[in-house]
Subunit: 152 residues, 2 copies
Amino acid sequence: MKREENKSRCPINFTVEIIGDTWSLLIVRDMAALGKKTFGEFLDSKERIGTSVLTDRLAHLERKGIIAKRPDPSDKRKFVYSLTDKGIELIPVVYEIAMWGTRNSPDPDAPDVWFEALKRDREEVVRLWIEAVKAGSSFFNGPDSVIARLNL
Amino acid sequence: MKREENKSRCPINFTVEIIGDTWSLLIVRDMAALGKKTFGEFLDSKERIGTSVLTDRLAHLERKGIIAKRPDPSDKRKFVYSLTDKGIELIPVVYEIAMWGTRNSPDPDAPDVWFEALKRDREEVVRLWIEAVKAGSSFFNGPDSVIARLNL
DNA sequence: TTTCTTACTTTGATAATGAAAGTAATATGT
DNA sequence: ACATATTACTTTCATTATCAAAGTAAGAAA
């Protein structure tokens, strides 16, 4: 993997060298928006990532301090992946990327509540999203989800 | 180029399939932050993009409606590249990516005024940045630049 | 009219991706 | 207890992308 070449110390290049590929941000999305936590759950997304690439991207994100990997106490075959603070800080990036895609895609596919949430104040949605993930929930799922807090 | 595979209609995947690679966002950065406009100017960045990759990425961004390409009226060898409205809409994404990189890079390299601008209100900076590019300037350069408007 | 510049294209080596099959550890059902 | 299933990988190999270097054609500058 030559993708971490440190081409420059530009802050934008720094970020792009970490999440600027086809899969990394989709994994962060699955965690932050859907609350996915295990290898099998990540495999099960619409974009159909392959196992070898998933293994590679998870190791990459872990090495870069975006996610943490722990053994699952209740099933010793499994590992539980979670966003670190650094990973949670990516939520504003993910929000803007989702916003741009929603506005510029000819036919965006997302839960109805996503389009409802976009009508709300950006600052509030981003703040609630960060709080949700810190509380162990995600945008759409869990007791502290954004949609629960906004009553959507 | 298989990078536009339409893996899903998720808004995040839609955006990532357009700008989720090593170079596309750096080109957008060069245009939005530095006001670069020509092939030679893009070649001349710290990250040292190769000519074949630059040609490919410029064609890709043009095809996706992010940038426009016109002949230079004063030098018929040249082309002038500019951000479309769709491209200008990426500025909030670029801002958040730059913000994350600035906060998480161990040794970020950027003009001093960038760090000054980060202390200001996000909404204002993003608004001024969009206005600057629409007026033919960029974040750092031109009569309507963000740093000119903020007196930095 | 020679030389330089610009925006490419071509070539060939190296690296990343993607699909499929394989594996070892652990869990589950009977 | 035993057979089967599941999980998180690893391996293999064909396809595709990237990168560096050299080449090119149109136009500008001296």
